[in-house]
Symmetry: C2
Subunit: 513 residues, 2 copies
């Protein structure tokens, strides 16, 4: 099965198949390429204090690698002080080990036009990850199913501004927990041609992700190239569990990328102060990335941070807050100094509905993500209710707003056309620019335009039913799902993937919970 023809169509395929492929061509931005600076809110002194403290934490406090004797052995051999499951890392060692991780890497998609470069001045946008619930206006809040999952994959595929198909866009709770990853991977691989993430919920599921990717891309291609970027959470504070680390080991050994990401609710999993949180985050990422390089030197990794604040009245995590922004800006600076690609931010919010709260908090976080130098933004669309819910309407709202980030990132052109001196001379005081030559030749590309939001005159808007953003989004979800056409895929590969999934599923009893 893994000997199936590599990359779409290379193994042959007739004109019909090629026609099918071209029929479903959709427009998609390549990536966000920043032509604007990052906001650097920590000065050199602050950066050095935090870096020094993080090394102190690694050396004095250390980190736990839980139920993972191989990891402890690797650390011991590398020169760390291992005692029980506690690994204390001498000052400078983790930083030194991190140096073999690439500062940027290409994640390949089955459609090479959708390959993404993760690192440098780029930002790659991927959908929400992990919610057990979905919500839409018609059906309200309910447990997510595999059918919901497929819809989100289609919506991400149809989005001009999402570069990546993501991973667990919602938890398909109607599929046994030990088999979900197979259906999810199959959906990403066949319903979209954008890059995707692998399964991390068990080492053997990571292995399945590799094997399915080998069917899709060819075995040799997978060994020589990165085709998955997967999310490895650290159990903050400073604990690396065997499940997540086991998955990471599989991915690293196969040259596949991992996002090594502390998961922080400030005040609970990290100190209540921003500088303290940054210290812990840096220590955790240093140890995690260093460990990936002990597994395989040069394995691609992304330094991550997931951070929310906490409402000290209720204990609820809060999103789109200034303190989360501080951590995100600061972590960007620290990770750039390490020369690592950076994952953070997203369409974060704590609202139950895709309303104004959801939008304020999400916009705060999305803008902050752009300006903090994030290279991979998971959760860029669809997040609701603190990540418990993937919302269909919110998904297309966020996806639309991601267009503003693309345009902001372009920066300001100052070539002769952009200077527009002829236009200013032509129009003169008291005139207007609507009809002038410069406007005529530039207006089509001059301004970002929403594909969703309402720009109509009040009277028209009222006649059409006085719809709010959620209602507009409901209509857009329906339109996109109606317009959706599956991107062409070599039938032999598709069959190989289905066979693999069926065979695997048949080999295991169902497990739930």
């Amino acid at each position: 099965m893994t000997e199936a023809p590599t990359r779409r169509g290379r193994g042959g395929g007739g004109a019909a198949r090629r026609a099918e492929r071209t029929a479903v061509r959709i427009e998609c931005a390549k990536t966000i390429s920043r032509n604007i600076p990052n906001l650097e809110i920590l000065n050199e002194e602050a950066l050095e204090i935090i870096e020094y403290n993080a090394e102190t934490v690694l050396e004095e406090v250390g980190v736990n690698f839980v139920e993972n004797p191989t990891a402890l052995e690797r650390w011991k051999n590398a020169g760390a002080d291992v005692s029980g499951e506690r690994v204390r890392i001498p000052r400078g060692l983790a930083r030194e080990l991190c140096k073999t991780a690439p500062s940027s890497f290409t994640q390949h998609a089955r459609n090479p036009e959708r390959n993404v470069e993760i690192g440098g001045k780029n930002m790659v946008l991927a959908p929400v990850y992990g919610p057990p619930f979905v919500r839409d206006a018609a059906g309200g809040r309910r447990y997510a199913t595999m059918e919901d999952f497929r819809k989100f994959v289609k919506l991400a595929y149809m989005s001009k501004w999402l570069h990546h198909s993501g991973g667990t866009v919602c938890e398909p709770t109607d599929v046994p927990v030990n088999k979900r990853h197979l259906d999810m991977l199959l959906a990403h691989m066949t319903l979209s041609d954008k890059p995707y993430m692998g399964s991390v919920t068990a080492p053997e599921r990571a292995q399945d992700s590799i094997e399915m990717s080998e069917i899709l891309f060819g075995k040799e291609f997978v060994q020589q190239n990165t085709v998955m970027t997967s999310l490895i959470n650290i159990n903050s504070p400073m604990q690396y569990d065997d499940v997540m680390m086991g998955a990471m080991e599989v991915f690293a050994a196969n040259n596949q990328a991992s996002i090594i990401s502390p998961f922080i609710v400030g005040g609970a999993m990290a100190p209540v102060s921003v500088a303290g949180t940054l210290t812990q985050v840096l220590a955790e990422v240093l140890a995690g990335v260093a460990y990936s390089q002990l597994v395989r030197k040069g394995a691609p990794v992304v330094a991550g941070t997931f951070v929310s604040s906490i409402d000290m009245n209720s204990g609820a995590p809060t999103f789109g807050t200034p303190e989360a922004a501080h951590v995100t800006y600061g972590a960007g600076q620290l990770f750039r100094r390490l020369g690592l690609p950076y994952r953070s931010a997203g369409s974060f919010n704590g609202s139950k509905l895709p309303d104004a709260q959801a939008a304020y908090e999400s916009a705060n976080s999305l803008n902050m993500g752009l300006l903090s130098g994030v290279n991979f933004m998971l959760h860029a669309a669809g997040w609701l209710e603190g990540g418990l819910v993937a919302s269909f309407e919110k998904f297309v709202m966020d996806a639309d707003q991601l267009g503003t980030l693309h345009h902001l990132a372009k920066g300001i052109e100052v070539d002769e056309n952009a200077q527009a001196m002829d236009a200013i001379r032509e129009v003169g005081p008291g005139g207007h620019y609507l009809g002038c030559a410069h406007t005529q030749s530039n207006f089509k590309t001059a301004f970002w335009r929403s594909d969703l939001l309402d720009y109509k005159p009040f009277e028209t808007w009222e006649e059409e039913g006085a719809r709010d953003t959620e209602a507009l989004a409901t209509a857009r979800v329906q339109k996109l799902l109606t317009d959706y056409q599956q991107p062409g895929i070599d039938p032999g590969i598709a069959e190989g993937l289905r066979d693999y999934v069926e065979t695997k599923k048949a080999s295991m009893p169902d497990a739930f919970g």
Copy 2:
């Protein structure tokens, strides 16, 4: 009347009056003081190109001062080339004249605790300005009245994060157009103790603003201090009408501040390109500020930009867009190089409702305003439907979000307490920070907390009626208006103000439209 006792209570007043004053003490942030850098998106070369081009525009194309022979005379005397109403300003002259404008100034409030410093690293936040309509959930969209106006003044007074009472928070359309300014000023002066703006719709109304301020502060105090910051729009492109300039002349002559602000819908009143718009904006501000200094050297001024994009399909202005952000960032850099305080941004959006669109667009604009170095943000709360509507719910939503800007601006502390090394040592791998000593002693001030948004568990939220942000905001508007207590004012001053308004109103026939 203008000989009335100066500043609150100085002319006497008993214990009862003093007790009344202290009873209504409300919490209000002094100002936003930035401890984070601005985002500088233009490089030196781009800045120099735009600066050079702006001077070329002033020299070759020039600006019109309409129906204002005094202005033309002043320009001629200053060395400009005046032909008809066209003023062509030799390269460097306007820039030179701008040098006498202060880089920062204090605007005094009748309560000295509410004085604001406009310039430097500060940002002062003021409410929406100008909408002819209001909206709330109960009453929908309707023409604004003086009663609505008073409610907005009260809401701004009650806000912790609005530093300024603003000006025409809505157009009180039930009051004759030639008398509105009197009622509006009376409301600002008596219902709030925050600083306010003067009337600019006619030179004589500017004069009334001065005279009423003299009653409130004392004549001498007004001549020696700035007690108003008023909005003077330029009719872009490059036209300075006699009404606005006439008002500006009155304010400058009396040492009162003007915001000199091009009003731009990109592609209509300025070139469709960002660099072209910045060139025109800089030329317009240079000429306007220079002119203020010809009226009175050292008169306080603020360099403004109001910019929106245009939807080239419908011609509608659009808000919270990336191109508007580019102009706002760029103008901030250009004006800082001129050493002038900067006005821009606001809670801009084009939505008809206080929904997700309104919030996305507003958040985009508010965040951008903070990071572009704005010193005076008009329209910081309440803006809806492209500025046609002042929304009560949106007002309290925005006012709440302004808290995030305050906290973001604080930057990251790195003192020993913030470093939290003891906490990290105390908690260790696998622990949690909720109960640790550092969290206990810091949690109250660690995180910004919304006074409006929903942080409740899903079940509680559902039991309480599954309210969206607008519904929460409706309740908050009602609560604030119920809790409102008028800040104490010397009864003699209050009476003097009422007398002035009555006498003025009686002296004029009503005028509408």
